[in-house]
Point group: C3
Chain length 141, copies 3
Amino acid sequence: MNKIFQKEFSLVPRSRGFHLITDEIVDNIPELSEITVGILYIFIKHTSASLTINENADSTVRADFMTHFNSMVPEGKSSYKHNSEGPDDMPAHLKTALLDTSLQIPITSGRLNLGTWQGIYLCEHRNKGGSRKLILTAIGN
Amino acid sequence: MNKIFQKEFSLVPRSRGFHLITDEIVDNIPELSEITVGILYIFIKHTSASLTINENADSTVRADFMTHFNSMVPEGKSSYKHNSEGPDDMPAHLKTALLDTSLQIPITSGRLNLGTWQGIYLCEHRNKGGSRKLILTAIGN
Amino acid sequence: MNKIFQKEFSLVPRSRGFHLITDEIVDNIPELSEITVGILYIFIKHTSASLTINENADSTVRADFMTHFNSMVPEGKSSYKHNSEGPDDMPAHLKTALLDTSLQIPITSGRLNLGTWQGIYLCEHRNKGGSRKLILTAIGN
């Protein structure tokens, strides 16, 4: 029987923007250390916040992500029909689709096998998104 | 031995646009009920239609997706070299890359563990895409 | 016990652009032939190169991808704060987020179960990206 672990938990709330959450994820699944070879799946249960993997060192990268996505998917376009939940809502749905609702990261020797510069981002697209629910599922030997 | 189920099937054809297909997917894999903890993988075998997870309630969200992606990846750009299959073809390839060719959804207690507002979208980018083939693979205990 | 195979290797270096790497991936994991039903995960350990699945036949599709992404995420925007690593660096991070850091492909009868027109692309966003590291993980029965 292979090992499967699954955890559902809520992230600490973050402000609108892009935030490094690698450590918070690893802290929530200590069972990673029991898996020699496998995959960690990270799933966010929301449609106005998303995930991605990107540069973990220079915080200006995350600032530039915020600027770029706000420009690429602007608020207040007259073409939006779905606007009853505020001007940040429909752009949040579109940004979620352009980024990721789930991530898959290899597990090797009990640890996430990320590249040197890779970190996990929470992409919070709402002005007041609150606490976001994640499901972690680790499968392996 | 963990459980692995795999099904290949064709979706009911849809018109160009974004369509909720959560129920059609679940109906095609009744074996989900046999998995306590695991992952469902959904893979689309095409390069001009794609998948994403987004808001499942208000149909104007799906209409706004259509408008946004048509604007973000316009037809008829003079820079396109690949235009022998019609003006909707090269934009369809690019939209497919911006959205998802595969989805991964946690399975918990025999059901997809989606957030309250999450539904699975077929993103049909061709004017006459026809019936699209999916592969469902469920892995778990 | 299900089967799990994991391989880390470096791709042959490619120039900036979109490149078909399906054969190079399959050649690096001959253990695929031992899996009847499962999933192959492909993970790239970088934040300025990415992966996607798209049209495998006409090379003009890959040329149009290059043109489109260079236009969608331009170099030299005055809004970029992260510019110490050259004008192609911050756009490379953004393109990586818009495309994929990992792919999941069904395995059926010992082979990747791709659609007729689907191939795996390396998306090299840097002018001198060098050799890129991938991790392949195959899980199945």
